[in-house]
């Protein structure tokens, strides 16, 4: 069960420091800060959960910042977490970074202000909600959720405890600037529709059993997902969505539909400015053997998925009409999406990729997966977060989690 006996709390640490202050003591400049580095009290104390692949990149982005003090890493692979600890300790020239196998131990530390999460997707919601409950700000890699039912719980936890929670797609702002500028400048008039090309869907996985490598906590890797034997291709963190990676299999991912979809759908909703909305329906098309979708928003805007004869983020405006320009929003602070998150941790503003907007994006691919699975169109009630009057579709809202994990 949860080990509550690991590290001193911040209060305990400070109490100890005060007691020691009676004796002569030299306070290092690194604690007071200098021109290049804020004082320790001004730094955001961080830990990382899931630190291979994408998590390694996030760790590097936060570790390189002078206004962050990185103190803990967590991964269910011993080699990965020890390498990450070595990297952090090397940065600070000490051996202070703690390495955990169980994220609950890291989240139980009250000296940590914020965490970043880059586990496989089936873990995101459980860890994020637990982090909010434990008073942590959160930077969560995309795709932020695996099921439609998870998203609202993540948003609710963030709001309940007033945490800064950022989604993890940097591409939403950075990759589609031409399309975004075209739409926000008003030059193509009122925007009517946009297309997203992305795929494939994730698949069932019945790969054969292989020996579990030393140092791999396989039960913890599976966590809330259905039990399955270890196989390297099942859990590999490479970026393929066509087999040989967890991103390919539906117990852990929505496949390319959600993995790259979080970027592309995020870019599309940003470009046509429906970031704060969810669609009211998704229309399933079976067009001469080709399957594609159209999402309709309450304001009439359409987002297509894999529409034939168009390209990714192909946008349709209103020829002959113009519209007053709007200022394109951007990150706050310095250092891209990671800097935006840290800035907001300090100011308590909402980050550019606030969890509410990230989840509004995730609704698109996750609804789409249900439409493709049922091979029909679906209505969506954003207020109730369900397919209204559609018992068959509502079965797909969530999945039972493997014991003992709860959300």
């Amino acid at each position: 069960m949860i080990n509550q006996s690991f590290r001193p709390t911040r209060r305990q640490f400070l109490a100890g420091t005060c007691a020691a202050a009676a004796a002569p003591y030299v306070i290092p400049s690194s604690a007071l800060g200098d021109d290049d580095r804020p004082a320790a009290s001004e730094r955001i104390v961080m830990g990382g959960i899931g630190i291979g692949n994408q998590g390694r990149g996030d760790l590097g982005a936060f570790l390189g910042r002078s206004d962050v003090q990185y103190v803990a890493v967590c991964d269910v692979r011993k080699g990965v977490r020890e390498a990450a600890k070595g990297r952090v300790d090397g940065r600070y020239q000490n051996s202070d970074c703690k390495a955990y196998n169980d994220f609950r131990e890291l989240l139980g530390r009250d000296d940590i202000d914020a965490v970043h999460i880059a586990t496989p997707d089936h873990w995101h919601a459980i860890i994020l909600v637990d982090a909010c409950r434990n008073n942590k700000d959160v930077y969560c890699q995309k795709p932020e959720c695996l099921t439609l039912a998870e998203g609202p719980k993540m948003v609710a936890a963030a709001r309940r405890y007033a945490r800064v929670v950022s989604g993890g797609s940097q591409r939403v702002l950075e990759d589609y600037r031409d399309v975004v500028n075209k739409c926000w400048s008003g030059e193509i008039g009122p925007v009517k529709e946009i297309n997203v090309d992305v795929g494939p869907l994730s698949q069932l996985c019945y790969l054969p059993a292989e020996p579990v490598p030393d140092g791999m906590d396989w039960e913890m890797w599976l966590g809330p997902a259905p039990w399955a034997p270890y196989n390297k291709a099942r859990c590999d963190g490479n970026f393929s969505t066509r087999g040989g990676s967890w991103r390919s299999y539906l117990d852990y991912s929505g496949g390319g539909m959600t993995d790259w979809g979080a970027h592309h759908f995020g870019g599309a909703t940003f470009a046509v400015d429906v970031r704060d909305l969810q669609p009211v329906e998704v229309v399933y098309h079976a067009d001469n053997g080709r399957r594609w979708l159209t999402y309709r928003y309450p304001n009439g805007i359409l987002i297509h998925h894999n529409q034939p004869n168009t390209g990714n983020l192909h946008v349709v405006g209103t020829p002959g009409e113009t519209r007053p320009p709007k200022t394109v929003p951007s990150y706050a602070g310095q250092g891209g999406i990671h800097g935006d998150f840290i800035h907001c941790c300090k100011t308590r503003e909402k980050p550019f990729r606030d969890i509410d907007r990230a989840i509004n994006t995730m609704v698109l691919p996750l609804m789409g997966i249900v439409a493709y699975q049922l091979e029909r169109s679906l209505k969506w009630d954003a207020a109730k977060q369900e397919f209204p009057g559609d018992a068959e579709a509502n079965r797909f809202l969530d999945r039972a989690r493997r014991e003992p994990w709860v959300l």
Binding site: N135, Y206, P208, D287, R296, E392, A400, E403
Partner: protein, 264 residues
């Protein structure tokens, strides 16, 4: 006229036409009975390492029998029979995934029998949790008394996911359990159920909750309060929030309670 042309036309004329056009134009899925028989035969020897594509006719049949009660019942009977037979864990995993999407009360007995089995309990819940029939909830509640440890935690989680208010007395009793994981699960389930009865049980359990479960119990109280507010029961929600404004509460809990009071 191709469908995307219909869609473009519909987009200009209104949402009702858009949806209607697409539904009419999309071709209903079809399944070859011989391929379906072959897939069920394959299921008998299916195991880890097998290619799931060899079973795809079953998935196609699940989709094809939407809105076809006779076809759906016949398919469900075959799946239930397979699940009750001596097939591998991997094959049972596959069948439970199918029953999650189309199972009815007819599937409940075979799934309920799997609930006390350590290897099969989760996939039984994988189906039962999403089957709307009341029999599914009854099976989960009845299994509570036959299980302990992690399996019981799983059952509790599924009852919460179903919002099964009839489970409230049983879940309330589990708030006193000596196992912190059981307390966390019971609290989370009661928070999801979100009734006044659940809120009272939860607020009464905060003080005695083990340390590892404390934040989950408090969080469940807040979830109940949010639900009570949404249901217009402001006085009841205020009572929950006020119970967390004391100086004895952690600062972030006091602040969350204060925000709740300001929101009502």
């Amino acid at each position: 006229m191709k469908l995307h042309e219909v869609t473009r036309l519909a987009a200009a004329t209104g949402p009702a036409v858009l949806a209607g056009s697409a539904v009419v134009a999309a071709e209903p899925p079809k399944v070859d009975p011989a391929e379906l028989d072959k897939a069920f035969e394959t299921l008998k020897t299916f195991d880890w390492g097998s290619d799931p594509k060899t079973l795809s006719a079953i998935e196609q049949a699940v989709v094809a029998t939407q809105g076809d009660p006779a076809g759906s019942t016949a398919l469900e009977r075959r799946l239930v029979a397979a699940l009750g037979s001596d097939i591998s864990r991997a094959a049972k995993d596959y069948v439970c995934r199918m029953l999650r999407t189309m199972g009815t009360a007819d599937s409940v007995p075979v799934l309920a029998a799997m609930l006390p089995n350590r290897d099969l309990s989760h996939m039984a819940r994988y189906a039962l949790e999403r089957i709307p029939a009341t029999e599914a909830g009854t099976a989960l509640r009845e299994a509570l008394a036959k299980t302990d440890g992690a399996l019981k935690v799983g059952l509790i989680q599924s009852l919460g996911a179903r919002g099964d208010a009839t489970a409230t007395p049983a879940l309330t009793g589990l708030l006193d359990d000596s196992d912190a994981a059981t307390v966390i699960a019971a609290a989370t389930a009661l928070g999801a159920i979100g009734t006044l009865q659940a809120a009272k049980a939860l607020t009464g359990a905060v003080a005695k909750a083990p340390g590892a479960a404390k934040s989950a119990v408090i969080d469940a109280c807040f979830r109940c309060a949010e639900r009570l507010l949404a249901d217009g029961k402001r006085g009841d929600a205020v009572a929950v929030y006020k119970s967390f404004t004391g100086e004895d509460q952690p600062k972030h809990v006091r602040l969350a309670a204060t925000r709740g009071l300001l929101r009502q």
